[in-house]
Symmetry: C2
Subunit: 334 residues, 2 copies
């Protein structure tokens, strides 16, 4: 008799902001691992803003989630049984089989985690996809130079908080936007020069201009909308816009007007470039080397916000859109 595993399935495609009713909990019995397969018990799973896009029924860079099927996403777990020589019970592995307590999969689809000092869930955060997103996007597209002014929106999130710290390591002046005072305090403690709470600052343009009176050279965008418009207004000539995400728009049910000042892209010779992390896989080895060193030196730190149990995974996901997380949003399983 195989292991029982609870999982979260997509019950309906969200219209606007996702709600609990769009998800359902189910339980299945896992098969025994066949040849070349392993049985894994998940310890942690990740929820990330990009998953919202996969809930729409449309072509994109990743295929849409299917109604009635378990969702997918990053997870780290422990091998319980293995029918492949590459893995043995007790090994820690990373996979895309999140949103479930356990699974059976080909060993070749699992990435064995290096033994080191980092806790396993760091491979879903600073040492994982969000960290790599921050590192590759900021360095490859932002092209930071010492003394430049960097504006980061969504700055307390899993990606933004790493961008802020890498920008400081690279000698930049950092202006961060967040939606809560405790997030601001954490970033100030990490050396960020100016933090604006966009929910309480009044006019956002006025507040960011006060923090960056010389203008900004790099804008790392996690938010879109008004933040993007403010960045266009304050951009200096040859500014670089790293378009990582636009979470303010993910739940829109109608198209919303774009930045009214997009024309600045011409006169200021701006570059606005979008990316997804897989564009820059050539940087992965350098990412691991740099990030491991920076963590060891105490130059990169991180926060985690944790929900417990598979049944609370939808709650964790929904918190991404209400600002309910500081740093990496995680679900602890098992």
């Amino acid at each position: 008799m195989g292991m029982r595993s609870k999982e979260i399935r997509l019950k309906s495609r969200p219209i606007g902001t996702p709600a609990a009713k769009d998800f359902e909990l189910a339980e299945i019995t896992l098969p025994d691992p066949g040849a070349g397969e392993a049985l894994v018990k998940n310890l942690w799973m990740s929820v990330d803003p990009y998953m919202r896009g996969r809930m729409y029924d449309r072509a994109s860079y990743v295929p849409p989630f299917q109604i009635g099927e378990a969702l997918q996403g990053g997870a780290v777990g422990e091998v319980v049984a293995s029918n492949d020589p590459a893995l043995k019970p007790g090994d820690l592995v990373q996979s895309m089989f999140g949103w479930r307590e356990g699974f059976v999969a080909p060993a070749a689809s699992l990435q064995k985690l290096p033994s080191g000092n980092a806790p396993p869930q760091a491979y879903l955060g600073v040492l994982g996809m969000p960290g790599m997103t921050a590192y590759s996007g900021f360095l490859r597209l932002g092209e930071p130079k010492p003394g430049e002014v960097v504006f980061v929106s969504g700055a307390a999130g899993a990606v933004g908080s790493v961008v802020c710290q890498i920008a400081k390591i690279k000698g930049c002046e950092v202006v961060a936007s967040v939606g809560a005072d405790d997030k601001a305090a954490w970033l100030k403690g990490r050396g960020v020069d100016h933090v604006v709470n966009y929910k309480t600052c009044g006019d956002l343009l006025t507040a960011v201009r006060a923090a960056a009176p010389k203008g900004i050279d790099i804008y790392f965008d996690n938010v879109g909308g008004e933040h993007l418009e403010v960045a266009l207004e304050l951009a200096r000539p040859f500014g670089r816009f790293v378009e990582c995400g636009m979470i303010s728009q993910y739940n829109n049910t109608e198209p919303t007007p774009g930045p009214r000042n997009i024309i600045y892209v011409v006169g200021k010779s701006l570059r606005i470039q979008g990316f997804i992390v897989t564009n820059f896989m050539d940087m992965q080895q350098q990412f691991f080397a740099d990030m491991s060193q920076w963590i060891a030196e105490g130059r990169i730190a991180w926060e985690e916000t944790v929900e417990h149990g598979i049944e609370n995974a939808p709650t964790a996901f929904l918190k991404l859109f209400s600002g309910g997380n500081t740093g990496k949003m995680l679900v602890k399983l098992g």
Copy 2:
């Protein structure tokens, strides 16, 4: 007694679309050229869309025009008298002293035109700033590869018509947008694959999609507004947007909404990059070499729309915003 010269001055800063009342004709007596100076009689002057920006009283990449002073812009003329050994009467020179019949200026501020087969006014068009804008922006930022699909707006203008032809030389498939059927016919005669008349095509997105069912790889933007939104909709992953101008917005009196689908920049990994021609002066020698060869081979042709006499220079300028020009808009003087 010096030469008399009529000139066009900015009388008032236009609000919305410029009108004849914003300009005034004046006549002055030119001084005799001092040491190191030359007296030049202009033969041709250029009007260009970017000049609209200089009529606003705001900081930009070129300083604003001043009320009551002669406007400036590209011109080619003939040296009448010279007090500098570098120039002699009869030499043809290019300058930024347009909008006037003649002028006295330091010889060092004048560029002697090469003797060749090209008519002098070509140095205000295909062999001048608009040609260089098309060449440098398309090649440096567009990075065209054979077989790629290029969408060009404002495609019958001085810049757009050169972009279309270079794109064909580089082996691309070209979809052009224009506002008149005679412009469409001219471009078809130059080998452009598909031409959309945006004024008569009905829904622009539908029309461009029909012309480019595979999507577009490069968008060369002279227009902004709805054209930019259509390009975002049809862009393929890793598409490049060369932001040369947004003439549809130059006369707006209120900020207008930007593209409602700007979020595609993230998921499609698009690059939207603005520029001004002076960013790429390192390409100028190669530009002259390539363009001269392409003209000699008949691979680049051009149209001119000509107004006559300095008093009609404002009329020529205003026609840029009503689609009254095919190819380079020029004013013939003297």
